[in-house]
Symmetry: C2
Subunit: 305 residues, 2 copies
């Protein structure tokens, strides 16, 4: 069943220990939609400028992604430039030009409104909220946020995530949002804020899923080489929601299927790991569902005892 994906479609400048690239396709919406597209129909809601390249549109369209909600306005796409540390664990922003993204007010095409799944990439909480209000019949909705909104837009963020079924967040953000250092305590506090399913991402160390009946832990996939981690967190989100949408996962039926949520976290980890293998979204030019399922099975083999 289809999933609506909201967020940025952007151009990135990336400096990594393995080389540099500029004006490569990026943005949370891009990575989430590409990843989710291996499982289900992804419908994007985003804004691009008139510099949005035909070949980038084709990458998305080629994955069967619905672009009806991709608004085109005069001006330039959101642009972000950053440089990674030698070990790729830190990055510094060199440039951020909001461009057309500054006036982004997500409008859902009529055909999107009854989609059962919604995932909100990291944008201003009020905008995330406005999108959710335009939808009806949601089975599962949630999204991502970041330190900036947690720190400076706390009230707005809390009122937004109050209605979410799931929240995906990294460990430092979870600590900031909850005021708790211990992950179990942080998770309990965050789940009291609304989202009863919480995924805390720990970068190269994996992720922990918390839900009403317990928790599930997955270690990070050991890559031979982390080429470029840009977008890995968003690909995690895309794999997570994509798998649940493919399965027709339905929280409204009143119960948590913990095993399916765990498998969704594994698919998230799988997509995040593939994303790191090439610059930007380049890995998605060749990635197949068979490769994805292969790595899912590899996770099983490397964690079973």
């Amino acid at each position: 069943m289809s999933v609506v994906v909201v967020g940025s479609v952007a151009y990135d400048g990336l400096e990594t220990p393995h080389g540099s690239v500029d004006h490569i396709l990026g943005g949370a919406c891009t990575y989430i939609a590409l990843s989710a597209s291996y499982f289900t129909k992804a419908k994007v809601v985003a804004v691009v400028g008139d510099d949005f390249a035909k070949e980038d549109e084709q990458l998305l369209a080629g994955r069967g992604i619905d672009l009806q909600g991709l608004e085109r306005v005069p001006g330039k796409c959101f642009y972000w430039k950053g440089v990674y540390s030698a070990d790729m664990n830190d990055r510094t922003t060199l440039q951020t030009d909001l461009n057309v993204f500054a006036d982004f007010h997500p409008k859902l095409p009529e055909s999107y409104r009854s989609s059962p799944y919604l995932i909100l990439g990291n944008i201003q909480p009020a905008l995330q909220r406005s999108v959710r209000e335009q939808m009806n019949g949601l089975r599962l909705s949630g999204g991502d946020t970041m330190n900036y909104w947690i720190k400076d837009y706390r009230a707005e963020l809390l009122s937004t995530i109050h209605d979410w079924d799931f929240l995906l967040i990294n460990d430092s953000e979870a600590r900031m949002l909850s005021g708790e250092h211990n992950l179990k305590h942080a998770a309990a506090k965050i789940m009291d804020m609304g989202p009863r399913t919480l995924v805390i991402k720990r970068g190269e160390y994996g992720a922990v899923l918390f839900h009403r009946s317990g928790h599930f832990m997955v270690p990070g996939y050991l890559l031979e080489q982390v080429f470029d981690p840009t977008g890995a967190g968003d690909c995690f989100a895309g794999g997570f929601i994509g798998y649940l949408a493919e399965k027709g996962y339905d929280l409204k039926q009143g119960h948590v299927n913990a095993k399916e949520l765990s498998r969704a976290v594994i698919y998230g980890s799988v997509l995040g790991s593939f994303c790191c293998e090439k610059f930007g979204p380049d890995r998605f030019r060749t990635l197949t569902r068979a490769e994805i399922d292969g790595r899912f099975n590899e996770f099983k083999a490397c964690t079973e005892f």
Copy 2:
């Protein structure tokens, strides 16, 4: 089957965010032997001074640990004092007094020499080597080391670990020893140095086991509270070798039983996690095998998908 445990038996001064304690029993040999004692007969080789308290001896003896190899000499026990950071992830040494440990030359009682299992705690590589040479009929031997020996005693260390079946090491030490940042590449280089079974510990993030037929990953157990991490790495080692000794694991039969090695890593993680629940080795005053097996099963439930 019995395991010989070599290393320090010491007194520690610990300053943590949860309080301070001084002259509490510590040392690698202590923690390894206590942990291994839940699985098999542990036989310690260590030196203590005349300040070694009767009650501490009783803690070890009460766990059925063989103290025949515990040498007693005039002077004071090895003393270490350290302070932990607020998040417990870092610690700073405040004081190190080698005392009787300065002249430690491990001598094995005759009754130890035919033990099939040997684990060498973090001491000078040449001493580790001399112990191994006093044994015969070993099924499995290996141990731990640290940055100091890797940096300043590299040749001695390499010649020592060349003969080991397994090496337990943390991630920063693995990177220092191999000169590789990527863990898979680091592991491949280290396994070429001798130990064909390698456990890379990653603190709160768990551990990765590498062996001849692949690798196994375990996330870190999520504690409600990390009270005092002192000794957790050594307890990991004790659980690891203890389980393999209990099972009669035999590398000499020429094959790796990957599942048993994985389970040994889980038992290592379990013992390491219990160790963090109280000051020093205090958790071992009440810990039972049933609690250990319970947490082993909890690991299964939290990682299966």
